[in-house]
Subunit: 148 residues, 2 copies
DNA sequence: GACGATGTTAACGTAAGCGTTAAGTTCGAG
DNA sequence: CTCGAACTTAACGCTTACGTTAACATCGTC
């Protein structure tokens, strides 16, 4: 059902990384390919591609190292696992446990993202007021120029 | 007038870095101490501390490497130089040139910061909708619970 | 079934950003 | 003037996140 027909080179290109990077992520336990060819070559799914892009986002936008990212994606994989258990009709206490953990991880991450967002906003505000100052300075040396 | 009485260890502590980091920044031409003691020890000013913090912000918030940061802080140092020339009564075309360059650098940086801000916002939106889904999932398995 | 493109593992290499150590010098309080 | 804390340069070390190369296997198209 869930197809995994993509080769490593294709996923690498789509994600904007190299094949080395994908193998390295696997080494770290960050991203296991969804399947393998008869001969043993890695085969990836579209979900895998999404995961790679997510890892990159966490790296570039949040500046996390791969160990921290592993914690996050592991938690998310657990939720995926829950969905399967859920569909298979797992016992309720177990479901609760996993969802609560997912919520906790998600909330932590959200808090960090929000904090970062705030800091960047402040940084941008600084830049904006600097920009205004620069332009005032420019106008003050060029007082008689009308709009063009 | 402009005092530079701080020792490297004090600045390092204030900025949350080590002395090694400050010396490394100097190696890279990122931050020259404002002065020296008679014996040759580095002496920093409060402005220097501000610069260090700025470098750290560009590193942590924007993910720039130190080479890119060097370009930015160099441009800002040029503006500082302008102020001195300005006060000394430099010729107008030169002032224009430098201010325009400062504006260009500032605008480029602002564009990058805004882009990053947008991406992080999108990322946060994703997390928020995920959070909502998780909580719905939790409520669906716990239908009869009132507020506690 | 040939064969070029693409894949495999294993190993060493590399750049950035400092950490650490060594061996000596200077600072400043008493 | 002394003496411990803080500084100096110089050099090698270390971690992360891959890049690169070698030597070989497999894929899939003709």
């Amino acid at each position: 059902m869930n197809g995994f027909h993509y080769r490593i080179g294709q996923i690498a290109e789509q994600a904007g990384v190299t094949t080395r990077t994908l193998r390295y992520y696997q080494e770290l336990g960050l991203l296991e390919p969804s399947g393998h060819s008869p001969g043993g070559a890695r085969r990836y799914s579209e979900q895998d591609l999404t995961k790679v892009k997510r890892i990159r986002e966490l790296q570039e936008l949040m500046g996390f190292d791969l160990q921290a990212i592993r914690t996050i994606v592991t938690a998310e994989a657990r939720l995926q696992q829950l969905r399967e258990e859920y569909l298979a009709g797992a016992d309720v206490p177990r479901r609760h446990e996993i969802v609560r953990e997912a919520i906790r991880i998600n909330d932590d991450l959200r808090a960090e993202v929000r904090a970062r967002l705030g800091r960047i906003r402040g940084f941008l505000d600084d830049l904006n007021s600097k920009a205004a100052r620069y332009r005032r300075l420019l106008r003050s040396t060029e007082p008689a120029a009308a709009g063009r």
